[in-house]
Symmetry: D2
Subunit: 342 residues, 4 copies
Amino acid sequence: MLNVGIVGGTGYTGAELIRLLSRHPDACPKAITSRSEAGLRVAELFPSLRGYTDLEFIAPDSGDLDGCDVVFFATPNGVAMNQARQYLERGIRVIDLSADFRLADRSVWERWYGMEHAAPDLLNDAVYGLPEMARERIQTAHLVANPGCYPTAIQLGFLPLVEAGLVSGPLIADAKSGVSGAGRTANIGFNLCEAGDSFKAYSASGHRHLPEIRQGLERMTSDPVELTFVPHLVPMIRGIHATLYLRIPDRNVDIQKLFQSRYADEPFVDVMEPGQHPDTRSVRGANTCRISWHRPQDGDTVVVLSVEDNLVKGAAGQAIQNMNIMFGIAEIAGLDAPGMVP
Amino acid sequence: MLNVGIVGGTGYTGAELIRLLSRHPDACPKAITSRSEAGLRVAELFPSLRGYTDLEFIAPDSGDLDGCDVVFFATPNGVAMNQARQYLERGIRVIDLSADFRLADRSVWERWYGMEHAAPDLLNDAVYGLPEMARERIQTAHLVANPGCYPTAIQLGFLPLVEAGLVSGPLIADAKSGVSGAGRTANIGFNLCEAGDSFKAYSASGHRHLPEIRQGLERMTSDPVELTFVPHLVPMIRGIHATLYLRIPDRNVDIQKLFQSRYADEPFVDVMEPGQHPDTRSVRGANTCRISWHRPQDGDTVVVLSVEDNLVKGAAGQAIQNMNIMFGIAEIAGLDAPGMVP
Amino acid sequence: MLNVGIVGGTGYTGAELIRLLSRHPDACPKAITSRSEAGLRVAELFPSLRGYTDLEFIAPDSGDLDGCDVVFFATPNGVAMNQARQYLERGIRVIDLSADFRLADRSVWERWYGMEHAAPDLLNDAVYGLPEMARERIQTAHLVANPGCYPTAIQLGFLPLVEAGLVSGPLIADAKSGVSGAGRTANIGFNLCEAGDSFKAYSASGHRHLPEIRQGLERMTSDPVELTFVPHLVPMIRGIHATLYLRIPDRNVDIQKLFQSRYADEPFVDVMEPGQHPDTRSVRGANTCRISWHRPQDGDTVVVLSVEDNLVKGAAGQAIQNMNIMFGIAEIAGLDAPGMVP
Amino acid sequence: MLNVGIVGGTGYTGAELIRLLSRHPDACPKAITSRSEAGLRVAELFPSLRGYTDLEFIAPDSGDLDGCDVVFFATPNGVAMNQARQYLERGIRVIDLSADFRLADRSVWERWYGMEHAAPDLLNDAVYGLPEMARERIQTAHLVANPGCYPTAIQLGFLPLVEAGLVSGPLIADAKSGVSGAGRTANIGFNLCEAGDSFKAYSASGHRHLPEIRQGLERMTSDPVELTFVPHLVPMIRGIHATLYLRIPDRNVDIQKLFQSRYADEPFVDVMEPGQHPDTRSVRGANTCRISWHRPQDGDTVVVLSVEDNLVKGAAGQAIQNMNIMFGIAEIAGLDAPGMVP
């Protein structure tokens, strides 16, 4: 049984880690930290967990994570880069759900995140934890940078086509997220009266997930990549829907076959039949990324639809998937539950 | 491994049975019927189940349920009373999620449901499947009438106080349900544009769950019971919240202790601390009924708050709990997952 | 044309006042204050008002409200009691949408609101602005205490029956509100991920609107009144639904006639046919309180259903109705628009 | 005072016409037809209209529309093309909110709508009622084809840029609509449990509004137009958000100026400041189309964001705007109300 530590457990990804681990056969949370809530029972903050955990939040500087096999950082950006090293040095593996180790290029990271990187030397050690692209490297990694929510859905939607070198011209990712993507935050913009029964784009001029997606695309192909990425806020709790536009002039490509063969052995990518439309609720609470594609009017433009639960495959679920890979546990352990519908 | 048959699997309770059984260690769906959708793959109707079931809907008259150990009826009212006998006669146990066998008094049933009962002799054999009140009888039952969604939350909220003979005067149950309580139905009243961003009472003059709740209350006490029950429609998908009002003039009663001791051994009833307020999302997808109580202004009126997921503890989850009890399986098997928050 | 000043215009009631005044034929906002947003254009904070107002928020201490005929306080509790006097002394009438002047009994106010009252002498001058109970006094009032949102729906639902002396025994008000009732506040509990797709009671042990409702009931009858009031949070933006329970043993009372005759001349109270159920959306954006009643199972308990838009008849609309009455304008001026459905 | 007739008034556009006309100074509904609901009071179907209309639905074949100056068709596709002529021949002007007269090319219409056109000769007389493109022709029109909801938001977003000949390469319109866009229909797919708390694309391979948008684009420019249009369903009631992607390599174009000057005299198009993001709620219930634009990463791709209320500027409001233009009434009459926020 793996002992799991969670740093920064008062947010949605922290709560989701505990929820998912509560049914994991081979791992369980041993300690969970929070600076602001130290001493509070986890189940008091999240009554849904009553009966499923007896843990209390502990102060982050206590040594109680020492016995852990793996530590998840479910912290805001800027924390893990300062604290990961102390665990790594004690032989504890680290999976960071924040953005601190996602970009290999330090200067790009510093520009988009607006701070100096505190552990640039670790950037080389960190493995970008998208299992569908880097499973082997993850197996031996000590520090995994868990991908962002948008980047996961978007990269998995683009991957088979970009990798095959089929794409000509600029890429567009029009992406939509439920409000939980913003975290558990008391921001007026996410009040139900503001975000409910309404829809809008945000950060259209530039969002931090852009360089992360671009880095992923560049690893798929040696061709230059031009990407426009516009995120939107959907009046729902969980779910990301990415609508991807690519130019693939060649009508003879068997796109369905490309997707199916690329993901044939992937336990958490589901390729639908041609012409179908995945909805986000079909993956609500599940670790699945569900994909379909269209070629409207038989034109040059191909449309890929890719959905995931931003808190599961887009965060905590994928982090546990990475843990399973790192420790040689069955990859689906604790994650083989269907989406909750309705 | 128990073989499970499901009659009428295209509704929400049918889909929820499959979702919950997908993680049950000792039972799995073997066949699922639907008159209208015979031949369709279950996962085509419910894409969330892609990868979790290969079943197709089969015509209800086929003999494919013969090998089943237990058959769930997830059908509209009026079906099970015509079909249950054929399974019982072949030694297959039956759990009916509809209302057909819930009322012991045939004439009351016929008045509220507006049809003649097709199997009145079975009413005596049927055990009303509220485990917290009838666990022993359920163990040996061949035909279980699974309680209604409102009746479950309301009876569990009233039970310790009524049973203890503390209540004086009329009872009020002001109950609120998410839209899934109405089933998977193409009724304009449940269109998101009609039921969304709005709130209303319905059936205030009389709802079919009233006699069922009253029957339960009368089993708890020999005192006469006067009950007013008003249901409301909440713009949400899952969840029932019952707000119960009782007159308990005696201030010396330790209500908290009553609740805690009554439910001490119940795996699926969670009594909160005094003064807390359960929210429905804390049991979203879980088989838990969560309860707290208040005595406002230290007056004669006690207020009990009781929440459940209408599709789980209020339907499919409780049905599986009953199955576990009937077959001597661990009662929590397949059901020990926390609510999904957020 | 009346010149209107608004103190504290960055909340929902402030924005709603401007929205409603934008179509008022005889009044228009002249100045609007905000300590935190001074200098900001109102339409920048509320883009829905682009093209409908050129006002900027001004600092609250500026003298720009001097030319106003009436000043609305759309401030948190505790502000108007400190500032109303300066306007009253200059002959400017004041309508306070906060709770500062709602309770005639200073000690009750101080107990429930947890602070000392800064202008207890004004409590006698203040008229509680529920037009259906106090129209004549409002006409000549200089200081109107605009009723709370729950109290408006609940008092109007109880009024005809309590006034007629028909009620025997305790009253119960089970009330439900949309999230905007909590104001425009960055509280995590009202984040869409927390308040959405969920339902709960709150303040069940005692809510500040209780003494206000009780005061109103005591003005309707000389009988002693016992009231239990439990508010709930509905995952919707606007709307209040009150479900009221009263004991009226006398079956010969013509309740429908009582309601209809009591409200025959009221422009903003709509009595439905017996047996109907009002939904909150039917008054979305409108100044109407819509009411129906039931006598379930022909028993002693009568159930009254009363809905309103908490921001309109429950706040800004009723404030404008009061202004119209105070200034001898047609009472429906600016308020005669139907609810927005869907 | 204009007498208005409405054919097919039981849907959302019919109800919205009545709501908007209730505050129109120069027009009022005189008769409203419905085959299925003849004899029913309109306010019984839509309780929000209680007190605002005494009309009953009448059978569509009655002659009661004879005294009308204008008849709105708020009917499903295929009705107006069979019935419009009878009104036109009696000198009654017709505004058709359905799709029957939107496409000038009969064969394109018949291919996309799957039926033979019943009045192809009227296609030449019909004026496509987008005031921002065809105000002068609308003034003298007898038959106006009111634009579709998506086409209105999308054409207004593209118009200044396409008209100016700036666009190079294919256009993409990624559009999102609230559920009311599907009409008042008892379809299971729009049940709150199916469409709520979820997001999906639909008709990605081809939607009927595509040829309508393409026709509009071709009227703006002589250049060939390639368009990909993917609609999505948002879990909200009202609102359309179009995210438009265009290639404009020339960095020297002053896009903001282009938008502002093109729409300077348009009462119902609001151009925001550069870098802003309109949300759909800002136009909830209003006849406004609100637009902003971005040039992400200063690249070749320009992103235009365009929002409207699909039932107002996208249907009933624009129809009244057209009526105002046709009858020489002030264009904003009955339509100058801000969006309802929150």
